[in-house]
């Protein structure tokens, strides 16, 4: 599929990176453009590129200034790099073979796994079952990874269970499923955090010994599947009992 040209601005993130900013919005179309340009620049990197980091509505390209200066000769390296990007961004990007994964993530919403569930139910004047139903009834898109290794920012959450971040971060256990604003996500590590915790997955989201140490990647679709406490324990022992992945080609549609 092809992607519409979206207005953007470019800015320097220090003297070794440049960011393409497509507008400060959580938006499926904008993020799709970010990811399309990410794929394009990964396949055909501008010389000197060291890494590409997509986010909600931005794509940041880090570069080796030494290499870029060699190519730019007398010209300012940043301006040279910027000109290369501007040229590329003039043309729409066509891509038909994106592999879109759908990952099914088992989540236990039992009280012991969900310290904030009851308070949210009280505040929203709905039952815990309704919260679980709202959280599990739609697929989410992984917009970006950040904050911690393997932490996926997913959206968009049903507005009926949208909650602000906590004012003070608390200690959160690895595997905890949180919500904040329009977002939902899972903590891969024990960490301080401000999201409201409504469940927990028995899956390990970070495995240093694996060739792909991180479970999610930007662009993935994610579905949460409710499980009971005894299933949680079972999967903790043997995660392979759960079939998490489904692959589709060119599957950008919901």
């Amino acid at each position: 599929m092809s992607y519409p040209l979206i207005p953007y601005r470019l800015y320097a993130l220090g003297d070794s990176a440049i960011t393409i900013d497509f507008g400060n919005r959580i938006d499926e179309i904008i993020n799709q453009s970010v990811l399309a340009r990410y794929q394009q620049l990964k396949k055909n990197p501008i010389p000197g590129t060291t890494e590409l980091v997509p986010a909600y509505s931005t794509l940041t390209i880090y570069y080796n200034l030494w290499t870029v200066k060699k190519n730019s000769k007398q010209v300012c390296g940043y301006n040279w790099f910027k000109a290369q990007l501007e040229e590329l961004l003039q043309h729409p990007f066509q891509e038909d073979n994106f592999v879109c994964r759908t990952l099914n993530i088992p989540v236990c919403y039992d009280e012991v796994c969900a310290p904030d569930l009851r308070a949210i139910a009280t505040q929203k004047k709905i039952s815990a079952e309704q919260i679980i139903q709202y959280h599990t009834s739609r697929p989410y898109k992984v917009y970006m990874l950040g904050f911690l290794p393997g932490f996926a920012y997913m959206g968009e959450l049903d507005e009926r269970i949208s909650m602000p971040r906590k004012a003070q971060p608390v200690n959160i256990e690895a595997g905890s499923v949180g919500i904040a604003g329009k977002q939902t996500g899972i903590y891969p590590f024990d960490s301080p955090g401000g999201w409201q915790i409504i469940g927990k997955t028995p899956l390990q989201l970070f495995d240093k010994n694996s060739v792909s140490p991180v479970l999610f990647q930007a662009g993935d679709k994610v579905r949460f599947c409710p499980i009971k406490p005894d299933e949680y324990k079972q999967l903790q022992q043997n995660p392979s009992l759960f079939d998490i992945e489904k692959k589709e080609i060119g599957g950008d549609e919901q």
Binding site: E51, A55, T58, Y78, G146, K208
Partner: protein, 331 residues
């Protein structure tokens, strides 16, 4: 060959120039805080400049060498000694079997770098030796050093002929570099939200000193000054950040992101420290004052290139001197 920690320091870890190429997975680069000093230490012992080194804070570990080893120390001045006898920074030092390296007193700077000829023999994780403590990976068992840790070294050359039965040796040459510590004028370029700062806040930023608070570590330094104000009502979404990115927190205070920073941030980015000055910032610590000086990207690039050229020159010179020394003293 190995180096053993006989007393643990507060936060010593194996680092290299950083783990790049995985930030899109949320995996932060880490790496040394003061890359210039790391590269200098490596150049002195004739290593490739980005070889893994030990980043040492004060109070530092005490190290024992199992075999004759060639080492160099750069960065902070912590009054290093071998078996109690003072040794200088920025020299090649040949130590003997069972010699102990110790750091006695912080004289200047915040982080010292210890390079050994051949480098440390630790396992790479995602193309880098850098320790990532949060993920428990890289470096030595993914953590800071503890008493009893024994780190292997890559070197297989026997240096015992160079040192024979002598005590340790400090080789006579050194490197001529600009001061690396106690420099508190930090050059920055404008960040993406710089223009949104009020004029008064821009003046505060460029003209008044910032104090580094006790909340200053490898992830970032929180700075103290009068609050800065920004003309912005809309919150920023999370996006990528960089080493040296200066973010404006909701309370009007600044935080400058250091080598251990997370991959993303959602606060206004008012400025970015230039690459050529990150090593100066890395040698400051809580209690120090610093001034930000606004410059343009052309100047930032020129200073970086100049620094890299200096390093290349020093690397060539050091490799040559060391080679000559080996030839003369081999027999």
């Amino acid at each position: 060959m190995s180096i053993t920690v006989i007393k643990a320091g507060i936060a010593d870890s194996i680092q290299d120039s950083g783990r790049f190429g995985f930030q899109h997975l949320g995996i932060n680069p880490t790496g040394v805080m003061d890359r210039f000093s790391m590269q200098l230490a490596n150049a002195l012992v004739g290593n490739e400049v980005n070889e893994a080194v030990l980043e040492v804070h004060f109070p530092a570990s005490v190290f024992l060498f199992s075999e004759p080893t060639i080492l160099a120390i750069a960065g902070a001045e912590f009054s290093a000694s071998i078996n109690g006898e003072a040794v200088p920074n920025h020299h090649c030092i040949i130590v003997n079997k069972n010699d102990a390296l110790q750091f006695h007193q912080p004289i200047a700077g915040t982080r010292a770098y210890l390079a050994v000829k051949g480098g440390f023999h630790v396992t790479k994780w995602l193309d880098s030796y850098s320790t990532n403590i949060k993920a428990g990976v890289g470096g030595y068992q993914g953590r800071t050093l503890k008493k009893g840790d024994e780190i292997m070294m890559n070197n297989t050359t026997d240096f015992s002929l160079l040192i024979k039965n002598k005590k340790f040796l400090v080789l006579p040459w050194t490197v001529d570099v600009p001061a690396l510590t106690d420099k508190n004028e930090i050059f920055v370029i404008r960040g993406s939200e710089w223009d949104e700062l009020t004029n008064e806040s821009k003046a505060v930023f460029t003209e008044t000193p910032f104090l580094i608070t006790p909340q200053a570590d490898r992830m970032g330094y929180r700075l103290e000054n009068q609050p800065l104000y920004i003309n912005r009502t809309e919150e920023l979404l999370s996006s990528a950040v960089n080493y040296g990115t200066i973010q404006l927190l909701p309370d009007g205070k600044l935080i400058v992101l250091m080598a251990g920073h997370q991959t993303s941030g959602g606060y206004p980015r008012v400025a970015n420290v230039i690459s050529a000055h990150l090593h100066l910032l890395a040698q400051l610590r809580s209690g120090n004052e610093l001034y930000f000086r606004l410059t343009d990207i052309e100047t930032a690039e020129a200073l970086f290139i100049k620094q890299q050229q200096l390093l290349l020159q020093l690397q060539n010179a050091c490799t040559f001197r060391l080679h000559e020394y080996f030839e003369e003293h081999r027999h």
